[in-house]
Every structure is written in structure tokens, then in C-alpha cells.
């Protein structure tokens, strides 16, 4: 029966080529635009560490002075050196890492390559196991190396390709900022999107090229890259005691109970700092988990969201357009349908026949929409934004595109098909 309906549908579609083309085009444009924007939105609002993000938390403390205080104000988005070190040493979480961004001058071992500046991450070693960073060669530095100014470095896949042609470079020496570092590990390609662990250096920026122990980098006074917020007016020049927040501190807490206990710990810590006269404000702590932190920072660009909603509105107009055209098309065939009804076809089978026709339009429109979405994403990738390279259609979005196209067109076909199968057969035959 389906094959027969399909045959009827194709015949009917061929009869009005212009109208069919218009319907297919409208569906394809609507689907193409909404799937392009939806894919970008999907990529940008995705979970950077699926399965792990629920156990990662970002503690926020408020060590600022009373000046400029507003009631209900959120705590700073980063921690000071002193707080970060205190929390790190307290070690109350399952894992914890203190980190910041930087830039180092790399002198390649191959003298033919000019020296270049590379974005660096200065961090303590739990960064790697906590964020599940995959290693290609070697391993992270040890916990002891966090505290002894060890001149060790972990390279990203990209930098290892550039400097050593992708060979196992562990054990070799790399000169950075005029100092020699021993390579202990090389990562597999790793680019969490968003760049969740440090939103100060770009929401969707690429991962850093080199990773150094935090203490080593700060003791060598390697350049800092990020945002630094200071309070008070002391002429303090030492970043380790200055009243500034400039580091990110992440903890892993495996159960909600541990998270609640950790929040209590932060509260007690703030209270204690205040009683010792270090803090001036009352405890003001927060402990968002990873996704809450991304949400709070509104990392998904508002332009991308706006584009998605406008594209969706566009799709609705295209569907309304298709409903109208299909209505006209089906009702125009009242005579033919009347004959079929008179020859014994039930209302149900007329309805099914017309929906098959609508579905065929949807399928072709969906394929067109898919091609348009691929072209649209190609255009997005040509943009200069940080997230441009991420805009790819994955299998789930591909399936969603086709599903959306067919379901939307079937939906658009419902009203016209229903109206058409209400046609009384006798009347149609008589007027003919």
C-alpha cells in the first residue's frame, strides 16, 4: 500500500513542478537555517567533560575590602594566591588544582624554527587526573614536583607536532623563557569546549600549548595571561601576597554530601579568616558545579542564541508557507480524490496517501536542508571567532535534522490532508 501511495505522491509532485520545488525549497531553507544555528548552539552549550562535570566544583571566596561593597554582591570569579594556597594545602577535596594562564617564549631545539610565544597553563598536577586529560606519551609530574620548583613541562599534542614532529619527546629538554625544562609528558589532542577551567582567557579558546608547575612558573616570574582584580591601595608588588584575585581553583567532590561538607568548610574558612582580621567581609562563599559555573558566566554568546531563535522563527514561517501551499495543492485535486473515495477508498487511506506525499516533500526538503546546513557550518568555520573550528555536524545532529524535516512536514501536511479527506465524494463527481 505504501509503495502505491508513494507512486501516487511522486506522480502528483511531478504534475506541479513549480509548486513542489517551492515547498521543497521552503522546507530546505527553514531546516538548513535552524540546523546550522542549532548545531552551533549545541556545540557551544555542550558539556566539556561529560560524565565528570557533575563532580567538579569551582569554589568562590570573598576576600575583598569593605570599600565599594554592595549588598548581595557575588564573590570574585577567581581566588588570591593566599586563599588558593590555603585551600590547596587543606586538601579537603578528592582532588584539587590551583592554576592560572601565562605565555612563555619557546626556543625550539631546531634552530631553523624561530622562537615563538606560546600560551601556557601554570597549574598544580591534579589538573591532569581531575579533568581526565589524555596522555599520548609519559605522564604528569608528581605531587612532590608541585612544591620543589621542578623544571618540568607537559606539551600539548599540537606543540609536540610542531617541535618534535610528533615523536615521543619525553625526557628531552625544551628551553622556555631562557630556562631549560625537561619534558615529562605529551598530551593527546585535547580541546574542551568551552575552555571551562579558565574563562578569563577566552570562553572557547584553544587549549594551551605547554603546562608548567604553578610554583616553578611564578617563582621564575613567567608572564601572566588573564585577568587580575585588585582591591585596597597598597603598593604591594609581590603577586603572592598582593590583594588581588588572579588564579582559578577547581575541586573534585565525588558525592553531593562531600560537596555540602566542602561548602561548609569554605564558610568556616572565611569565618576564620575574618576573625584573624585577614578578611573584612562576612563569609560570602559559593560552590557552583561546572555546568552552573558556565551558566553563571553566560559563556554561550548571545548572538548565537539570538541567531538560533530567529532561525527557528524563520522555520515556522517556512512551515506555514508549506501548509498553505499543500492545502491549495490537495484541494485542487478534489476531483481526483472524490473519484478515489467513490471507488471505495476510505477516508483513512486518502489521509494516509496525502501524508505520504507530505512526507516525501519533507524527506527531499530535509536532504536539501542538510546540504544547506553543511554549507552554513562551513561559513561559520570561516569566521574569526574562537569557536569557529568547533562548528561541525555530528551524527546525532544529522539524525535530528532529517527527523525534524520529516516530522515538521508531516505536521504541516496534517491540516491540508484532513481538509482534503473531508471532501464528500458525490459532490465532486457531480460537479465534474
Amino acid at each position: 500500500m505504501f509503495a502505491y501511495y508513494l507512486d501516487l505522491a511522486l506522480r502528483s509532485l511531478k504534475r506541479n513542478k513549480g509548486l513542489t520545488a517551492l515547498m521543497v525549497l521552503a522546507i530546505a531553507l527553514g531546516i538548513g537555517a535552524s540546523m546550522t544555528t542549532l548545531t552551533v548552539l549545541h556545540v557551544l552549550s555542550g558539556d566539556p567533560l561529560p560524565g565528570r562535570s557533575a563532580t567538579l566544583y569551582y569554589p568562590q571566596l570573598d576576600p575583598r575590602s569593605l570599600e565599594d561593597m554592595r549588598p548581595g554582591e557575588a564573590p570574585p570569579k577567581q581566588v588570591s594566591w593566599m586563599d588558593g594556597m590555603n585551600l590547596l594545602k587543606a586538601g579537603r577535596a578528592d582532588r584539587q588544582a590551583l592554576m592560572t594562564g601565562g605565555a612563555v617564549a619557546v626556543s625550539p631545539p631546531d634552530a631553523a624554527i624561530d622562537p615563538f610565544f606560546e600560551r601556557a597553563r601554570y597549574t598544580t598536577r591534579d589538573f591532569f587526573p581531575m579533568f581526565d586529560v589524555p596522555f599520548l606519551y609519559g605522564h604528569a609530574w608528581s605531587r612532590a614536583d608541585d612544591n620543589n620548583d621542578a623544571r618540568l613541562v607537559v606539551l600539548s599534542y599540537r606543540i609536540n607536532e610542531r617541535l618534535f614532529g610528533g615523536a615521543d619527546s619525553t625526557g628531552k629538554v625544551l628551553r622556555m623563557g631562557g630556562k631549560d625544562f625537561r619534558i615529562v609528558g605529551v598530551l593527546k589532542p585535547w580541546r574542551p569546549a568551552p575552555h571551562f577551567y579558565d574563562l578569563m582567557t577566552g570562553d572557547y579558546s584553544n587549549s594551551e600549548g605547554v603546562y608548567l608547575p604553578l610554583l616553578t612558573a611564578t617563582d621564575l616570574k613567567f608572564p601572566f595571561n588573564g585577568s587580575r582584580d585588585c582591591w585596597g591601595n597598597s603598593a604591594n608588588v609581590d603577586q603572592k601576597t598582593a590583594q588581588c584575585t588572579w588564579l582559578q581553583f577547581w575541586v573534585q567532590l565525588d558525592t553531593p554530601a562531600k560537596a555540602a561538607a566542602y561548602k561548609q568548610f569554605l564558610d568556616n574558612y572565611s569565618r576564620q579568616q575574618k576573625s584573624q582580621g585577614v578578611y573584612q567581609r562576612d563569609p560570602n562563599v559559593r560552590l557552583p558545579d561546572l555546568m552552573q559555573w558556565l551558566d553563571y558566566n553566560q559563556v554561550v554568546p548571545s548572538d548565537v542564541q539570538m541567531q538560533f531563535w530567529l532561525a527557528l522563527g524563520f522555520l515556522v514561517v517556512c512551515l506555514v508557507n508549506t501548509i498553505g501551499l499543500m492545502l491549495a495543492k490537495f484541494l485542487r485535486r478534489a476531483g481526483e480524490l472524490g473519484v478515489r473515495r467513490a471507488l471505495g477508498a476510505s477516508r483513512r487511506s486518502i489521509f494516509a496517501q496525502l501524508l505520504v506525499e507530505a512526507g516525501a516533500v519533507g524527506l527531499v526538503g530535509g536532504i536539501g536542508g542538510l546540504l544547506l546546513a553543511l554549507a552554513g557550518l562551513g561559513l561559520v568555520r570561516m569566521q574569526a571567532t574562537d569557536y569557529a573550528p568547533l562548528a561541525h555536524l555530528d551524527m546525532s545532529m544529522l539524525g535530528a535534522t532529517m527527523l525534524l524535516a520529516v516530522v515538521a512536514t508531516l505536521f504541516a501536511g496534517l491540516l491540508p490532508a484532513w481538509r482534503a479527506c473531508l471532501i464528500p465524494p458525490a459532490l465532486q463527481l457531480k460537479s465534474n
Binding site: K221, F224, A235, G313, G324, L331, R332
Partner: protein
Amino acid sequence: MNLQVKPIFSALRHHKAGTLLIALQIALTLAIVCNALFIIQQRISLLTRPSGVDEAHLIRVMNGWVGASDKDVGPLMQSDLDTLRRLPGVVDAYATNATPLSGGGWATGMHSKPDGKGKRVQTAIYFSDAHTLDTLGLKLVAGRNFHASEVQGFLPNDTLQPPQIIVTRALADNLFSDGHAVGKVVYLGKKPSTIIGVVARLQVPWVASWASNWEGNSTLVPRQMLTNGTNYVIRVRDGQLQKVLHSAPAALLAADRMRVIPDDQGVVTFEQMRAKAYKSDRGMAILMGVICTVLLAITAAGIVGLTSFWVGQRRKQIGVRRALGATRHDILGYFLTENLLIGIAGVAIGGALAVGMNQWLMHAFEMQRLSWPWIAGGVVVLLLLGQAAVLAPALRASNVPPVVATRSV
């Protein structure tokens, strides 16, 4: 025409679904097109803002020294600047932390009283020297330039409280409503800074919306940031831009090899910086333009399709009317009026939808309020579009001969 309204309504009652669909499509199209055009207008007004500097003659070179500590930087920077200023085709040059359109820099609060008290305005900080006004082509509207003796080095952890500063007119107007800022004292920290000069305009480094409320509030400080990385800004003579784009980095590398000038964005003109800074705004405007065009085309095509169907369906009635004495003109007028009535219903709903959509965009995306002329313009465009779309099927209808009335099919 008036006589025809009544039969039109009774005819439309027989095509409720089709009528509603056209009206709905017009309404949705109007709502989207109004808001999209409004977004385009806003983005265009953003990207045509002047930066205040002589963009056509400016080049920025990013420079990092390899293995130099902060205390070595002062002499290195001075010798680089001497090299650049001596180059043929170069008018002047200076070193800074940031420039307009660069998208990165230093922002802070400036206060009318010490220790963060009194009136506060947000400002961008540009590190400058006595050559800055000349290099950027800034117009001094009051006061004087920095003296070379006032320019000092600044280490990354120093506190910024220079005794002399130059501010933009926008910043001066924000702080002092009487229009006389020169000689007045403001505070970046504990110590006072005296405003010695006022320049006409200098945009902050950020073009994004979060900085749009204070995008003209800039402060020049007579300081040279002594860090490993710096930006050289070079002003060139007419027609020398391409030459200096190559000669400047070459001269710097010839003077000292122990430096890094990034391959990507290391040497750029201000025109390239402007294109990059506003790329997403331009992209958004183009995308909205494409969406509007396609949407209007689809709506027009939909109207053509549905009206053609109605004309086909009513051939016999048209023939009867023609046989009873209606002229071609009457038939044409009938379909045009019919479309106009549907269109008016559509734009009435669409106007309300446009306002509602704008309210939601304002709430969700901090967009501005849509003004009435935009909606009025959209209404006119859609009504004209409807009339144009219906013209071809209506002309076909008016060509139906009266003899059709006598045929049975």
C-alpha cells in the same frame, strides 16, 4: 472598490484556512523582518563609530623579547623606538599596552576623591609618551601634551597613580559638567592625578557591548609598561603603508634577533584591526539581511501560490461576473483588494508580534526598544510585497473570458 468588500468577505469565509495561513505568514514575517532590520541598523551604527585615531596611516607591531627580564625592557624599548622613528616613511611611533580596536587592555575606575570615594567613572588606560598624540593623530582640544621628562617606566606590579594624565572629552564631560577639566584633580589610587590635557576622541580597546556605555572614556598615562611583551604603534606617511609593513619588522629583527614578532596578527594595519574587531557584528548584520531577503521571497512565493490556486478554483465565478458586465479592471481590483484585506489583518497581528518579540529580545539579549518607524516601514514593505505578489495571478484572473461561464467545466 468599496462595493467589492462585502463579496470578498463572503468569499474569504469559504477559504478560512488559506486566508488564515496567509495572514499568519504575513504577521510572522513582519515580526521577524522588523526585528532583524533593527538588529542590522544597530550593528551598522556600532561598526561605523570612529575610533578617534588616524586609522588609515597606522600599523601595530606586537613584540616580545626572548629571555629579557622586566628591568632590561626600558633600554630595549627605547632603542626599538629610535629604530622605528628613523625608518623612511615613518612619521612617528610609540610603545603601549593597548590601542583602540585591539580588544584587550586595562580598564579601571577613576574617582573624584582618593581611595575609591566620590564620583566614579570607568575608563580605559593607555600607556603613552610624548609621541603618542602625534602618532595616533589625536586632536588636543584643551591643555598640553606630556613632556618627555614626565614619562616613566612602570613595572607590572606598580601602583598606577601618575601625577599627570590626558583624558578624552567624553571622560572629562562625565567627571566635570562645567566643561573645564584641565587643571582638575582625579584619583586612580591614593595619589592625585592632574588632568593636563583633553583630546577630542579616543575609543576604548573593546568594541563589545559590555563596554558600550563608556566607549569614549579613555585616559592616557605618561608611563611605559616594562614587561616582556609590548605593542609598537607606527604612523606612516601617505602611500608608505605597504612599505613600512615590511620594513618595520625587518628593521626590528635586524637590530636585535632575540625577539618574537608573532606570524599571526604580529604586524597589522589598523584597518585590519577594525575589520577583525567588528567581524562578528558585520557577520550578524549580513546574516540578518539574508534571513530578511529569503523570508520576504518565501512569503511572496507563498502568496503567489495560494492566490493562483484560488484563481484556478474560481474561474467559473469569474467568468459569470465577466458575463454579467464586470470589467477586467473590476476583477483585478477584486483580487488586489482581497489581498490587501488579508494583508492588513496580517500586519495588524504582525505589528503586535513584532513588539512582543522585541520585548522578549530586550529581556533576553539586552536589545534596545524597537521604535515605531521600523514597524511602520515593515508594514508598508509587506503590504506592497503582497500587492506585487498577487499581481500576476490577479492579471491571469482578469484575462478569464466571459465565455467560461457558459462551459460546464
